[in-house]
């Protein structure tokens, strides 16, 4: 199983100091890569932050909020889906729980909106422990079944328990900023969602670089081997599931505060969960920004279908077709696909050196002034990142 996430993370984790001086060309390319990456992230952040002032009307701005909400949820999904490879179709239900939890804490317990949001997320995280305990004891197929069952059972409960949840009549959530006009309200929530997204991305990024993340990826590649090597697989899966649930609940709760009206049919819908999976897969589950890119594509597509075709079922057809195409032809997502395309345009990389061993020794001695005894170590250290890059080209 080729791991596409390694090339994107490997250059970042190797600091220039550890790179042997001989790999001058490699170091150069790597630092260029890093500059490109930093600039791309800055550009992305600038584009996201400047969107509200560029949006021509409040509708476009509200669509932007919806897309950002999807990006938050999809990134949260990717904590489980991307690291461990366990595909959950039930994350829509966790978002729904976050939304209803926030709404009920505001209306019934009288908590301030944002305190309720955090408390609800903590409650959902606590609830995710027993859910994860049942779901993660089994692999693959059963996990998906449990995640689907979770959505269906919560839909049943929230529709039937009308005295608490309002049932199908819906639940109105009081606005946190009652005196704001609607466009201003959208703008404030746009920035709130952007902040939450940044937080989720930061958490994903730091797990990606940690030992914990390494263990999770080992589970994804081969769970039996990971377990045999001493990775506490069950504990790792459970922890990351709870983290994912907490972020999902925050996203759902923020949506509830923004939208102001909850209906079980939309909050506990398998379709929402499948959108999240589609976004993450489309963008690339092994990439930090994969779910965000997927959310941009799918979220904008969904809004377009809503405007063009209204209430017809065509958006389901489009979703189904897109999901099938992604699964069949692009299971690694667009970001790795673009990456490999760029890699093909670059000068071909190979592990064959175009210098003789003698020249190499001279170069090395000249560049570092290191005694010859250390050379083999350097050579080994220098050639290894090179060969891991090979797999992706």
């Amino acid at each position: 199983m080729p791991s596409a996430s390694e090339p994107t993370t490997a250059p970042a984790t190797t600091s220039p100091a550890t790179v042997p001086p001989t790999g001058a060309a490699t170091t150069g390319r790597r630092s260029v890569d890093r500059v490109v990456k930093v600039v791309a992230v800055l550009l992305l952040a600038a584009a996201v932050l400047s969107f509200p002032s560029l949006a021509p009307n409040p509708y476009i701005l509200s669509a932007g909020v919806v897309v950002l909400n999807f990006a938050v949820l999809s990134t949260s999904w990717n904590f489980v889906g991307g690291f461990t490879g366990y595909i959950s179709l039930g994350h829509g239900a966790l978002a729904g729980l976050g939304g209803y939890g926030t709404a009920l804490l505001v209306t019934k317990a009288g908590l301030p909106s944002f305190v309720a949001l955090v408390v609800a997320a903590l409650l959902v995280a606590a609830l995710a422990v027993p859910i994860g305990f049942a779901a993660l004891r089994v692999r693959g197929a059963s996990f998906v079944i449990v995640s689907i069952a979770l959505v269906l059972i919560l839909l049943l409960v929230f529709q039937s328990w009308a005295s608490l949840t309002g049932g199908s009549r819906g639940l109105v959530v009081p606005r946190p900023f009652p005196d704001l006009l609607r466009p201003e309200h959208h703008r404030v929530f746009y920035y709130l969602f952007a902040g939450l997204l940044a937080l989720a991305l930061l958490a994903w990024w730091s797990i990606d670089r940690s030992r914990f993340g390494l263990g999770l990826k080992a589970i994804r590649e081969d769970e039996d081997k990971a377990e045999a090597l001493g990775t506490p697989t069950f504990a790792y899966k459970l922890v990351v599931f709870v983290v994912s649930a907490a972020f999902t609940a925050l996203g759902g709760g923020l949506y509830a505060l923004w939208f102001g009206d909850l209906d079980p049919v939309f909050q506990f819908s398998i379709l929402t969960g499948s959108y999240l999976v589609l976004m993450a897969l489309l963008g690339g589950v092994r990439n930090l920004f994969g779910p965000l890119v997927g959310a941009l594509i799918v979220g904008i597509g969904l809004e377009y279908f809503k405007v063009e075709f209204g209430d017809t079922q065509l958006h389901l057809v489009a979703t189904g077709l897109l999901l099938a195409l992604v699964v069949l032809f692009m299971p690694d997502g667009v970001l790795p696909a673009i990456g490999s395309l760029l890699g093909r345009l670059r000068p071909a990389q190979s592990s064959i050196r175009e210098v003789t061993a003698a020249e190499l020794r001279e170069q090395r001695a000249a560049a570092a002034g290191v005694p010859a005894a250390r050379e083999p170590v350097d050579a080994a250290a220098g050639s290894r990142p090179e060969s891991t890059r090979e797999g992706t080209a």
């Binding site: 692999r139 998906v144 269906l152 499948s274 079922q313 057809v317 189904g320």
Partner: protein, 295 residues
């Protein structure tokens, strides 16, 4: 305490419902046994068959049962194509997860197309014998429910005989047990796997026709079926046909009995409770064998 007649009625209804569950769960179990595929689209095909039965009755004026002459071969062909053209393309390493997504996509596609072609209006077949019923020991049993049960029972029996008595059945079971070994003794496992999928989907055609006889159908109905069916195959132990049939009868009966004190909506939760209880205490299911251990 409900009266004896009501209890008896519930038991009969539970049996009849359990029969239909058992047939559909048998199809799901076949897919899982053959390729470790969890076929989310199974219940979407079920509703598709129900719509075809409804359509042939209202537009063509034929008895819905006759629609099976077309739908069963059609679904068999669909199943073979689905396995050979789509599922066989997926990478073996991620097959289980990706096949879930692929069949999910097919389910959503079918739901969307049904909604587009037939609109979201609820449909029901009006049959001459639709309201006929007869009484035994104070319980009233609708004729259509009995026909549905009969269909399911005959189909299950046929499937059983096919699996146990025919050469194809041997080959199929060998493929399920050990694919490589089956290939070594000369079984064309690819072709057998395709036919196995066809058989599984044919159960959805029969089940859908049986469902259309006495149920109001609408495009998103399949979500109400997939949950219970998934619960049944996990409780029964993934990959075990007798386990699935047994779990289907038990859970169908429990659902029917719980409807008396709890009402129809809350009675459905029994499936999910059973699912979570099974996973928490006996993840391999109650009848599962070697296969279920790892899934």
């Amino acid at each position: 305490m409900p009266s004896g007649a009501l209890l008896f009625q519930s038991i009969i209804l539970g049996l009849l419902l359990g029969g239909l569950y058992a047939l559909l769960a048998a199809g799901l179990t076949l897919y899982f046994g053959i390729m470790r595929v969890v076929m989310i689209a199974h219940s979407a095909f079920l509703i598709l068959a129900a719509y075809l039965a409804w359509w042939s009755h209202t537009r063509l004026g034929v008895d819905p049962l006759l629609s099976m002459i077309v739908t069963v071969p059609l679904f068999f062909a669909c199943g073979v194509l689905l396995q050979r053209v789509l599922l066989a393309r997926l990478r073996p390493v991620t097959l289980t997860m990706m096949s879930v997504l692929l069949t999910f996509a097919i389910a959503v596609l079918i739901e969307g197309l049904l909604g587009y072609v037939f609109t979201g209006t609820q449909r029901r077949i009006q049959l001459g014998y639709g309201s006929a019923s007869f009484g035994i020991f104070g319980a009233r049993v609708a004729v259509v429910k009995l026909i549905a049960f009969g269909l399911a029972a005959v189909a299950l029996l046929t499937l059983y005989l096919l699996m146990k008595k025919t050469t194809f059945g041997w080959a199929l079971r060998a493929t399920i047990q050990h694919r490589d070994a089956a290939r070594l003794v000369g079984i064309e496992t690819e072709r057998v796997a395709g036919y196995g999928f066809g058989l599984g989907l044919a159960t959805a055609a029969i089940g859908g026709t049986a469902l259309a006889l006495d149920t109001t159908i609408y495009p998103s109905l399949h979500w109400h079926w997939i949950g219970p069916l998934m619960a049944i195959i996990v409780v029964g132990g993934l990959g075990s046909v007798p386990g699935a049939a047994m779990a289907a009868m038990v859970l169908g009966m429990l659902q029917s009995l719980l409807q008396i004190p709890l009402g129809t909506t809350w009675a459905q939760t029994i499936f999910y409770l059973a699912l979570f209880a099974t996973l928490a205490f006996r993840p391999q299911g109650f009848f599962g064998g070697r296969l279920a251990q790892r899934f």
